[in-house]
Amino acid sequence: MRISTEIKNLISKQDHTFKHGSLWKKKERWFWLFISPWIIGFIGLTLGPIIYAFAMSFSRFRFTEGLSWVGLRNYQILFSDTVFLKAVSNTIYYAFVSVPLSLVFSFILAYLLNQKLKGITFFRTIFFLPTVIQGVAVFMLWGWIFNPRFGLINFLLRSMGIGNPPIWLESEIWAMPAIIIIGLWSTGWMMLVYLAALQEIPKELYEACQIDGGSFTQKIIHITLPMISPVSLFLLITGMISSMQLYAPAYVLTQGGPNFATTTIALLIYYSAFRWNKMGQGAAMAVLLFISILIFTIIQLVLSGKWVHYRTGVDE
């Protein structure tokens, strides 16, 4: 949210500090010196590699020979490869199910945390804990919880009368939902961003609604949700972007299986390039991923000025 508003400011703002003179020139020299680490890094570790990735995607790559041009071959192979197509649909499945669910879930959590109650910071710590400890250890924990025979979840399901609970990570159908649940468990970033947004809503709006006899649901629908919609849009897009890069739980728990049911694009890039020695196809996938993320980013910048409800609109 803050970053996209900052981007807008930068686009609209002129350089007011622009001056001539020797002192100014001297300072300008210092500016370039100070930002030189970033410039070197940007050219050497970001811009250069992106250009090289595009070149790799149109080439066959060998460590000994370097690049040899093959045109669109890598892309042609990809689009006739069932594993790649499956990875695309898995990635879309994950992004389109997990992100909306996380939005709803983290909004509920943030709403609860926004109440002025005793011990609320304790609950905030608890809610945030899983997000901080995310990583391989947490995936191991969930592997154990989803254990078909002795895991906690299936114990719970059996005690609720479900005699034949899913085998989760070992099942083609249930492996991806299991990974989505793991993601939901560590949704604390979204929750904190929502919490900050909720705290910025002016109290007078709720008071006015209260005096007009507005109910709890009316307050949520007419005040809370419109007021936080810019944040929701921001979280939706950034959530989409980061979920398109998911690989870690699938790598640790299922290695992309069973039968490629949890192979995502990011994981397939790793396998293609570093396990199956298909650097060109890996690069082609990375380029496609890059372009789709770019599209999402542009959509965010365009949309953030349109259908979302900014505070000025409410004040009028």
């Binding site: 970053i3 900052e6 981007i7 930068l10 703002k13 100014w24 300072k27 300008e28 210092w30 500016f31 370039w32 100070f34 930002i35 680490p37 970033w38 890094g41 940007f42 570790l45 992106i50 090289y52 990735a53 790799m56 460590f63 959590l109 609860l112 109440q115 109650l117 609950f123 710590t125 608890i126 809610f127 945030f128 804990l129 901080v132 400890i133 990583g135 391989v136 250890a137 947490v138 924990l141 154990w144 254990n147 906690l152 114990f155 059996r158 005690s159 970033w189 961003v193 900050a196 950034t238 980061s242 790598y251 728990l253 694009i265 990011a266 890039i269 790793y270 390039a273 990375a286 993320i293």
Partner: protein, 290 residues
């Protein structure tokens, strides 16, 4: 008349809030249990005899607490947990140092020095936030491979010495909030531009450093992709790679996985409890994850 309305309004409000409070507490406790139970389960599994792990219904509090799973897990793990732990500490500290130093100096320049095209450059910094690491991964691998950095720690931490865009953004926002007069008067007193950064800005920026430091620490501690791609010698593995390896090679020894995962998580939990303020600040001031 007016008083009466106000009084009844308040009464009405307080009754709804008591019911509301109770409901809120019930929900808070319900959601807390979703977050806490898996962690308690991990602790419970780690501390009980293996014969009690594979039973239905599960045993929550074992009659006897045993550390055998820890001992056997530590013995089975290759390389040793201590090696993984110290490797991770070294790499992560280098990442924290490199990214904080480089990002703060770049952020300082963006906040204080005038320059032509500064805004466009800063826009570029923000744009690079959106670039997925998978795109630069393969070319960087080719590049670092040519430098002979395969199976070394250099690819893990050296890129962090070239300013991380997210931290540049954070530091720039922070330094921009420092009153300009402070820098102006120091300049009149003959302070050099580097002195402005080192002696004026840095001492004021402790909260920004704490926040960025924690983010950098977590990022380094949890990173799996970079070690996975570059490291092949087990002695150089980091904790996350070692754990992932342990998980895939010893999944039959389920009872040893949980104590190892628990050991990996404890430092992070301690960090959260001591520095929660900065976590929250980092997310709230920037509204984006790193």
């Amino acid at each position: 008349m007016r008083k009466n309305i106000k009084g009844s309004f308040r009464l009405h409000q307080s009754t709804t809030t008591t019911i509301g409070k109770i409901i809120t507490y019930i929900l808070l406790i319900f959601f807390s249990s979703i977050f806490v139970i898996p962690l308690l389960w991990m602790i419970s599994t780690s501390l009980k005899d293996p014969s009690l792990i594979f039973v239905n219904p599960p045993v929550w509090i074992p009659p006897e607490i045993t550390l055998d799973n820890f001992r056997s897990g530590l013995r089975l793990m290759l390389p040793s947990f201590q090696t993984l732990f110290s490797n991770t500490i070294i790499v992560t500290l280098l990442i924290v140092f490199g990214s904080l130093f480089s990002s703060s100096i770049v952020g300082f320049a963006f906040a204080t020095f005038p320059a032509r095209g500064k805004n466009i450059l800063f826009l570029l910094v923000l744009t690079t936030l959106m670039i997925p690491p998978q795109v630069t991964l393969l070319p960087q691998f080719v590049f670092f491979n040519r430098l002979g950095w395969r199976n070394t720690w250099y690819p893990l931490f050296v890129p962090h010495f070239f300013a991380m865009p997210f931290f540049v953004f954070m530091f720039r926002q922070f330094f921009a909030s420092i009153p300009r007069e402070l820098f102006d008067s120091a300049e009149i007193d003959g302070c050099s531009p580097f002195g402005l950064y080192w002696r004026i800005a840095l001492p004021l920026a402790k909260p920004a450093f704490a926040t960025a430091g924690i983010f950098a620490f977590l990022g380094g501690w949890n990173d799996l992709l970079t070690p996975l791609v570059y490291l092949s010698d087990m002695k150089k593995f980091t904790l996350s790679l070692g754990l992932a390896n342990f998980q895939s090679t010893s999944w039959t020894y389920l009872q040893y996985l949980m104590p190892m995962a628990l050991l990996a998580v404890i430092p992070i939990i301690i960090l959260l409890f001591f520095a929660q303020k900065y976590f929250v600040q980092g997310v709230v001031t920037s509204g984006i994850k790193g």
